[in-house]
């Protein structure tokens, strides 16, 4: 349906190489390996108040430390803001 896997890893051998990751629509470069928790730290975002989607799949908070990012990943980091009817 809305599971689009276009952001899947293209090469498996990206360790210690620069990865291009799209975060909230912006292309950014990071060094591999990098977990979701590591990404949040490098962006200065507290993990407790956000929700994260990796390639259109929700990442549970319990997996922030264990899920590693891959080159080409598309990440969405969202939170609650004021909003009305």
């Amino acid at each position: 349906m809305f599971e689009d896997m276009a952001g899947e890893t293209k090469s498996g051998e990206e360790a210690h190489k620069a990865m291009k990751i799209t975060v909230n629509g912006e292309d950014r470069c990071f060094d591999a390996p990098l977990s979701i928790a590591g990404l949040l730290t490098s962006l200065g975002i507290a993990g407790g108040k956000v929700a994260i989607e990796r390639n259109l799949e929700i990442v549970p908070k319990s997996a922030y430390d264990t899920i590693g990012l891959s080159d080409g990943d598309r990440i969405e980091i969202v939170h609650f803001i004021g909003g009305g009817a």
Partner: protein
């Protein structure tokens, strides 16, 4: 229905008990501090919130939850701005992950100019969400047949618009709102269109279980004063509805007895 005082006449949505029948949005305020003060003044126990991308260039910017606490208010994540069922479902799944709440407000818009709901998409998204374990309060058109379908598929509250979102035009179709109220077995709340206190009272006098508003308070010259006015209007409208209004007559009927007139 019996004549009850407000404190013994709770609003029950999906098994949750609320004493306030006013739900307010958290958009369009000058800042979060004003927003928090208005929420306090309104007496609301439920606030709607939106889900948006974190601002990467300023991650330390003020956050809603630091002012309007989810410990104090029931957060009702909404899908404002979504134009497809998929967008709405995706947004609410993220909201559930961010906050852990399954009570949500679904709104699928059909048109940018009127922000009128797209009802076929709304029905489809509601079904997806209910199957996924969400409790869905649904923004909808004031069509009683659509409202009944939404109730039949399991929505926990029906929320027809009184007038277009942000218009402040008041209840444009009181007959339809009343038809929806009469047939519904779940709470009915007017969502959108209220402009001032009397509009909220009208919605409640029609028998609605509650009112959801944002712009009427946020765009008032004095939002705190208007928040207080809305609190009273919703209570007054509810009590008038429970009291049962007098019959209308074409001609006068004196209030003082005629017997003993000198």
């Amino acid at each position: 229905m019996t004549n009850q005082a407000t404190d013994t006449d709770p609003l029950i949505i999906a098994g949750r008990v609320f004493s306030s029948r006013l739900i307010i949005g958290t958009g369009k305020y000058k800042d979060y501090a004003e927003n928090a003060a208005a929420a306090e003044a309104s007496g609301a126990e439920i606030v709607t919130v939106a889900v948006r991308r974190v601002n990467l260039s300023d991650p330390s910017a003020p956050m809603l939850v630091d002012y309007v606490s989810p410990e104090k208010y029931t957060f009702l994540p909404n899908t404002a701005g979504c134009f497809t069922g998929e967008d709405a479902v995706r947004t609410l799944r993220l909201a559930r992950e961010a906050g852990g709440w399954s009570l949500v407000k679904l709104e699928v818009l059909g048109d940018e100019k009127t922000l009128y709901p797209n009802m076929p998409e709304t029905l489809r998204a509601a079904e997806l969400l209910i199957n996924d374990g969400f409790e869905v309060m649904v923004y909808c058109s004031d069509d009683p047949i659509m409202a009944r379908e939404l109730e039949d598929i399991g929505c926990c509250a029906i929320m027809p618009l009184g007038a277009p979102i942000g218009s402040g035009l008041g209840i444009q179709n009181p007959v339809n709102i009343r038809l929806i109220v009469e047939q519904a077995k779940v709470p009915v709340l007017v969502d959108a269109g209220v402009g001032t206190a009397s509009d909220a009272a009208v919605a409640m006098e029609l028998g609605c279980d509650g009112v959801l508003m944002n712009t009427a308070i946020a765009e008032a010259k004095d939002p705190l004063q208007m928040a207080r006015a809305m609190r009273h209007a919703v209570i007054a409208g509810r009590q008038a509805y429970l009291a049962g209004r007098m019959a209308k007559r074409l001609y006068a009927d004196p209030s003082s007895p005629l017997a003993g007139l000198i």
